[in-house]
């Protein structure tokens, strides 16, 4: 789960990371009142979860009320890379002389947390990591002990941070690690960590991603979840149904059980010349109602021209799947889009017996099912 900038900044500030004065606003009057309170100049920043907001016109600087009004009018309501902007953060514009980067993430290769510092702040850090990896100092942390202060100092000195700033930056990094650890972060980053002309450091941006699997023990964070953040109505619907769902560009709807098998089905659709419309994993042990919800999900995507069901039962039972398909499709006078079903594994024979073959096309193998669904999608496309 990704926090908005204003949420991450609040979490960071509460933990003691220095952040600029800021206020969230959702209309022009709110922006002007906030800017008055903070004092000009201010930065006005769109609160949507996409990178490159500045370049896309989502961040503007305002020296006075007129500029603030213009900025607020152009940013509020804008479409930023497909995301509707309905909130901006009005923030004290920090007078800075230098920009740094600090971050904490999980190094999955090492199976350990890693803390990072770089003097190349204010730019795309992934590009820095790719092109000049030596420009980022890294310190692995024993997760059982947490980060010792000396490790933060080591990373800062390794990164060649100005000696006058080193202890302050190390302090920010230690705080950031503790926060990441306490809040079950997957990533926590400050980019840029600005250095002011007075020699103070201040977090001008804040990124915090939380491990979804740990939300059960992070109730305060879970409450910050913004259902609209994904920007896609279907993905929000998938959240309500509690499906693993990813919307894609194509027209062959795909439903299956188990992430690897569903990914494989997507790849096969592509292999046989079709285009997957989505990834939808019903998970293990799905009962009839869940199967019906999955069909509802995929039919709600207007790009879908055909649907392929690929179920290889382990915990999931073929008869439950068949019942769900019958129930969902039985409600229609006419099936909206052709549905191809392939059942294998636990209780597949029982499933085949009860599956209403007037409603669906049955195939025995994965390859045949995928090819049939691709052909149907092409036919449907031709009809339009």
């Amino acid at each position: 789960m990704k926090l908005h900038e204003y949420q991450a900044k609040q979490v960071f500030a509460d933990a003691g990371v220095p952040t600029p004065a800021s206020t969230l606003a959702s209309d022009v009057d709110g922006v002007l009142a906030a800017a008055d309170e903070i004092g000009y100049p201010v930065a006005i920043k769109a609160q949507v979860q996409v990178g490159g907001r500045g370049k896309a016109g989502g961040i503007k600087l305002a020296e006075d009320a007129d500029e603030a009004r213009d900025a607020a009018e152009s940013i509020l309501g804008m479409d930023l890379k497909g995301y509707h902007v309905d909130r901006v953060l009005v923030e004290e514009a920090v007078d800075f002389v230098n920009e740094l980067y600090v971050g904490v993430t999980m190094d999955r290769g090492e199976g350990k947390p890693v803390a990072m510092v770089s003097t190349k702040g204010g730019v795309d850090i992934e590009q820095v990591a790719e092109e000049t990896p030596e420009a980022i100092a890294r310190e692995h942390v024993d997760p059982a002990f947490g980060m010792h202060p000396y490790q933060a100092r080591k990373a800062v000195y390794d990164a060649d941070v100005d000696p006058d700033l080193a202890l302050d930056v190390a302090g920010v990094l230690t705080t950031l690690y503790d926060l990441w650890d306490d809040r079950d972060g997957s990533d926590a980053e400050i980019n840029p960590l600005m250095v002011t002309s007075d020699g103070e450091v201040i977090a001008a941006d804040a990124v915090m991603n939380i491990d979804e699997d740990a939300l059960f023990r992070q109730p305060e964070i879970a409450e910050m979840e913004d259902e609209a953040a994904s920007g896609d109505e279907l993905e929000q619907k998938a959240d309500e149904y509690d499906f693993d769902y990813v919307r894609l560009e194509g027209n062959v709807g795909i439903i299956g059980n188990g992430a690897g098998l569903v990914m494989t089905t997507l790849d096969l659709v592509d292999h046989y010349g079709g285009k997957p419309a989505n990834f939808l994993d019903v998970g293990g042990g799905a009962k009839a109602e869940r199967i019906a919800n999955a069909l509802d999900m995929v039919f709600s995507d207007e790009n879908v021209d055909s649907v392929v069901f690929n179920i290889f039962g382990g915990i999931t039972r073929g008869d439950e799947v068949a019942k769900g398909i019958n129930e969902a499709l039985g409600q229609f006078d006419e099936i909206p889009k052709p549905v191809v079903v392939r059942l294998a594994g636990t209780n597949w024979e029982e499933g085949m017996e009860i599956l209403n073959e007037d409603l669906v096309t049955v195939e025995q193998t994965l390859e045949d099912a995928v090819q049939r669904a691709v052909a149907y999608a092409e036919d449907e496309e031709g009809d339009q």
Partner: protein
């Protein structure tokens, strides 16, 4: 005819009184697995399917001489259950639980370096030596005894590939589902080493997916150390960057690492053919035997 488990393996089921634990303990017993005990705090003294339940793993191991554990415990308590398994003299712990927090697994990972117990999982279907024992949730009926070793990050994909093999009369020595999380116990390299050293394993199937660099590391290991022929499959060629495709670990990072392409290239460079479909993988394995 196998690695890690056989019909001598004595299994304790952690969480045997829960819905999943009870059901799958029954399935394991039916398959012929030597399930000797359950372990559930507060439920000591009960019996499930005629198997005695103890309050602690330690007691189960002591009383029933168990040497492996299968863990069916909810995510919030899973790391604790794994630690408990690691603190006994078990040879093997298999964690089925999906959704264990990654930071918990980082701590488990650290403890693994301090013990001799091997962990498989979490978020995995377990492992099976056909005809002898299954530890986990794999559907036993699709497997057959034979000479192909299989290691996979995905459960249902394992079933798909095994089905293709079995339908052609190609059986398996042992199939290991290592799980799809970012931090796991046994990885591809560990499993490849086991199969390479097993005289009965004549060919190996390795099913990977997008995310992380485990497949690339496995490719380098195969290049250096594996004589047994290996055929591969990589799921997620069509996955867009930045989206988690079901498994917590299956995500192509924004900077382009963890793609199916880089994994397929690495395997090809190590002399491992990668099938476009599960049937092609089975074709390849058939040609090796």
């Amino acid at each position: 005819m196998s690695v890690l488990v056989d019909d001598d393996t004595r299994v304790v089921v952690q969480g045997i009184t829960g819905g999943e634990g009870k059901f799958h303990a029954g399935q394991m017993l039916e398959y012929g697995t030597n399930v000797v005990a359950g372990a559930v705090p507060g439920k000591g003294g009960q019996e499930v399917h005629g198997v005695p339940v103890y309050d602690t793993v330690d007691e189960a191991v002591e009383e029933e001489d168990a040497d492996a554990s299968v863990i069916f415990v909810p995510p919030a308590f899973a790391a604790d259950a794994i630690f408990e398994a690691l603190d006994t003299d078990l040879d093997l712990a298999v964690a089925i639980t999906e959704g264990v927090p990654t930071q918990d697994m980082a701590k488990v990972n650290k403890r693994l370096t301090e013990t001799d117990t091997r962990l498989i999982g979490p978020n995995c279907p377990g492992l099976i030596t056909p005809g002898e024992a299954k530890l986990g949730i794999l559907p036993g009926n699709i497997f057959a005894e034979g000479d192909v070793g299989l290691v996979s990050r995905s459960g249902t994909l394992t079933y798909q590939v095994v089905d293709s093999l079995t339908q052609r009369g190609i059986g398996q020595t042992t199939a290991i589902g290592i799980g799809g999380d970012p931090i796991i116990g046994t990885d591809f390299v560990d499993a490849l080493e086991l199969f390479e050293n097993d005289p009965d394993t004549k060919a190996i199937v390795m099913c990977g997916e997008i995310g992380g660099e485990d497949e690339e590391e496995a490719a380098a290991y195969i290049d250096e150390h594996v004589e047994t022929p290996v055929a591969g499959f990589i799921a997620g060629r069509t996955a867009p960057p930045g989206k988690r495709m079901g498994h917590a670990g299956a995500i192509v990072s924004g900077s382009g690492t963890g793609t199916a392409e880089s994994k397929i290239d690495a395997l090809n460079d190590a002399g491992v053919p990668v099938g476009d479909t599960p049937e092609e993988v089975a074709d390849q394995i058939e040609s090796f035997l």
